[in-house]
Subunit: 501 residues, 2 copies
């Protein structure tokens, strides 16, 4: 029998080597989005596939399973070590549930549905895509069956993105969204509207870029351990806690597209930079869930980056950079404008209130698709009906409606709710931070963001996957996910902006 330290060292070696390969893939993926010349795609594809196969093989082979089972019985290794092993064993057993044949089938189907989705978008016609979507839904049901689940097959899919989440937890939350947000939206609509016309001007790209760098530095994003580049869709990627990169896009005619996307990705990046380097490649060195990841990006983007306090500090600086565009716009006007609420068609462009209707709609629809209560053939109508109901608008075509998101074509069912969870956790964490950090408002108002980052680091980042999102939320706020924090945040914010009765 090998002694435990040797066994744990072996375990750590395997996991960290697999991480090396996965992080190498991430570098190739980053390059593909940011700098790769167009003809590079074909061979890059096979290079990524080879790396994926190798790390998958390392983490699913039987010897690794034996090692994990053996280590799992040992109680004389440290607590953190036991925790890592426990999580790795869960990952391993989950992975083993999908036979090679299934992985092959879903890989092929993902490629087929994605092509069909691209073609359908091009021709602005959902019908082209619906049969491939139906096949994908069948496979996702099969996947739920292979994983096993209690109560609802959708739970097994949710678990991929938000461990521990379930319909039983989410339904009550989204029921509150359904009950409480429409009245708020109604009151906002009935109030005098605010203007964001000042965005309809030319904002030179370089100045936008420079300002975003200044803000990121103030947030505490470490440029010695990261960088910002341009890509078509903004994203954050990590090659270790010491190299976490973000991307953004710049549009001369749409300033909002850059700055808040930089802050949003910056929030994700601060989480990754805050993960413990000593746990590189191990579960305690990885982010715990998509919802918690999104809580970090949204907290920075919205609770901080769209707050009056934040702009109290930054607005004079912004005006200096864009004096001709913003010279005549007061701080109050600017603050109101960047928080304008208005129902719109595209999820990724929605404001903080209407955003959650976009997610609610997708959550209800994907649940119904997985349950078999809704046929893919009827999805477009169901989508359009719900947009009418919740947002009061009907998509003029499929591209601006049912075809706007890539997720389902990639088989990502259970992903959408994590976007709203992110906002709700963000509001709940931020409310707690305001209680625990002395004069946080004043600090933000002075551009001092260090203590907030330190608090998030100690409360969230440093734990990696030690706690699930619900456990983490309980530890931080004394209760599980609670929509009322978000409602208080929204009530308070929009009362000021819209002078709500």
């Amino acid at each position: 029998m090998q002694d435990n330290n040797t066994l744990y060292t072996k375990y750590k070696e395997i996991l960290q080597k697999a991480a090396d390969i996965q992080y190498a893939s991430a570098v190739l993926g980053w390059d593909q989005e940011v700098y790769m010349p167009p003809k590079g795609f074909e061979f890059r594809g096979r290079q990524l596939a080879t790396l994926a196969t190798m790390s998958h093989e390392m983490l699913t082979n039987d010897q690794f399973g034996d090692l994990l089972h053996e280590l799992h019985t040992r109680t004389d290794i440290g607590e953190a070590e036991q925790h890592n092993v426990r999580l790795s064993l869960e990952d391993y057993e989950k992975n083993k549930k999908l036979p090679a044949k299934f992985i092959e089938d879903i890989t092929i189907q993902t490629s087929n549905s994605y092509s069909a989705w691209l073609k359908a978008r091009e021709q602005n016609n959902y019908s082209i895509y619906k049969d491939e979507l139906a096949k994908m839904i069948a496979l996702k049901n099969e996947q739920a069956r292979l994983y096993g689940y209690s109560a609802h097959p959708y739970n097994a899919l949710l678990d991929e993105y938000e461990k521990g989440a379930s319909v039983a937890i989410l339904d009550p939350v989204f029921n509150k969204v359904k009950e409480q947000l429409p009245p708020l939206l109604k009151r906002i609509k009935e109030s005098p509207q605010v203007s964001d016309n000042f965005f309809n001007k030319n904002y030179p790209k370089q100045d936008q870029w420079d300002f975003s760098i200044e803000v990121l530095k103030k947030m505490g994003y470490d440029f010695e351990a990261g960088r910002q580049d341009i890509s078509e869709h903004p994203f954050t990627t990590s090659f270790s806690p010491e190299d976490v990169r973000i991307t953004t896009r710049v549009d001369e005619h749409n300033y909002s597209s850059l700055l808040w996307s930089s802050i949003h990705e910056g929030g994700h990046a601060l989480y990754e930079q805050g993960l413990p380097s000593a746990q590189y490649g191990l579960p305690l060195g990885a982010a715990t869930s998509l919802g918690i990841h999104e809580s970090q990006s949204r907290l920075w983007e919205n609770c901080v980056g769209r707050s009056y306090n934040f702009w109290n500090y930054f607005y004079p600086r912004l005006q200096q950079s864009f004096s001709s565009q913003l010279g005549g716009v007061s701080l109050k006007e600017f603050y109101k404008g960047v928080n304008k609420v208005e129902p719109s068609l595209i999820r990724t462009e929605a404001d903080e209130v209407t955003y959650h209707f976009h997610v609610l709609i997708r959550f209800e629809l994907e649940k119904a698709l997985i349950e078999g209560k809704l046929a893919p053939a009827d999805l477009r109508d169901a989508w359009n009906d719900m947009y009418k109901t919740y947002l009061g608008i009907t998509p003029p075509d499929d591209k601006q409606g049912i075809l706007q998101d890539v997720h389902w074509s990639h088989g990502m069912f259970g992903y959408f709710p994590t976007y709203s969870l992110g906002s709700f956790y963000a509001a709940q964490f931020f409310e707690q931070a305001e209680k625990e950090i002395n004069k946080l408002d004043e600090q933000i108002s002075n551009g001092e963001l260090e203590q907030l980052l330190k608090w998030l680091g100690e409360k969230v980042h440093v734990f990696g996957r030690r706690y699930t999102s619900e456990e983490l939320c309980n530890r931080i706020t004394g209760r599980g996910l609670d929509f009322s924090s978000f409602m208080r945040y929204a009530e308070n914010k929009y009362s000021g902006i819209y002078d709500l009765k």
Copy 2:
């Protein structure tokens, strides 16, 4: 018994997967030099090490050896397939000659000698480095013994970079360098000197960059399958023939540093872009030797990029970009200036004539070090003596003398001669191209470089490793490496520039 096609497919799969991993490493290496934030180094180091170990393991394990031996006996696969297998078997058997213990030792020693070299450079004192260099030399002798060699241990080391090269081939060539270049240099020195003062002006970085892109496009470098970036030391790297990248550096006060480095790296890149994609990862899809690689870069940099014909086309364009700097400099003055010959201390900054003394000195010294005829303790004096003899100058300190190159600290003995071989092959190939391509001079004079690239593609690039450098040279020019082509080229060029008697 498996049928041959199945066996060959298996062989190809293994080799191409190893290539996927090696090319992934190349992406990580490129990123490290070009964009990686400083704190990324530590984890990047382990990621690169893991990838290197994995590809090495794939290519050296016994099953792969058995497969190669089995395939090698088959004669009913295609000729190209047989050729690939033959070369792979040679690679395999060569790799197997180095035991794991030796690889470990030399990896550690490389790290130690490199640190010592860095420290010695910092303190400008060779003594700090000499003992680690001595240990490295002992290991290189051990490596030569493990590989096996005939006649001279240095041959085994040369073979790493230039298969088939040997002291017996190189000595006569460098003897001619010794005999024929000093009289040429003497005649040049005794003639009226030319001026390159026009470089001592401010050349804005962006304009330099833009001009280099224009030249690279004219050379036929495919920007859909590559890109240029900035790095401290210019290099070329390839992730497939469809993604070949170059880097350069820009110095406002030294224009020559960018343009010819871009052309030089562009020449390397054209070779890589010209390799057959269908042979991806296989020997017939890889460059044949460092000497031939360098022949491509030097042919473009010197035979083309420093020719009167080339500038006949490009100079008016260059003058347009830099009218205040070059408006008063005639084409002839410019042409002479960029070909100025003057002994200097640093190899990488040397002109086309004196360059080969730098290489000759290193070739003689490293041969003597490997033979044991020169002790590392005496190396600095030997170096300085030879600089006095061949270039008429004595390094004022170690940094500008014996410590200027990194190669030996990395254990790269046998590498230096390939730089000169590159120039000599370049002259020999270019002489042949002038014979075979109708009015090549006139084409270059009109900025038409397509036929030259096509010729190089058909004569060199497309073959991959099918021929060794000597075989290739024989095929193209009807004879092996022949220094007289370079002498004719130099005589002709400098007669015009220096009005030689």
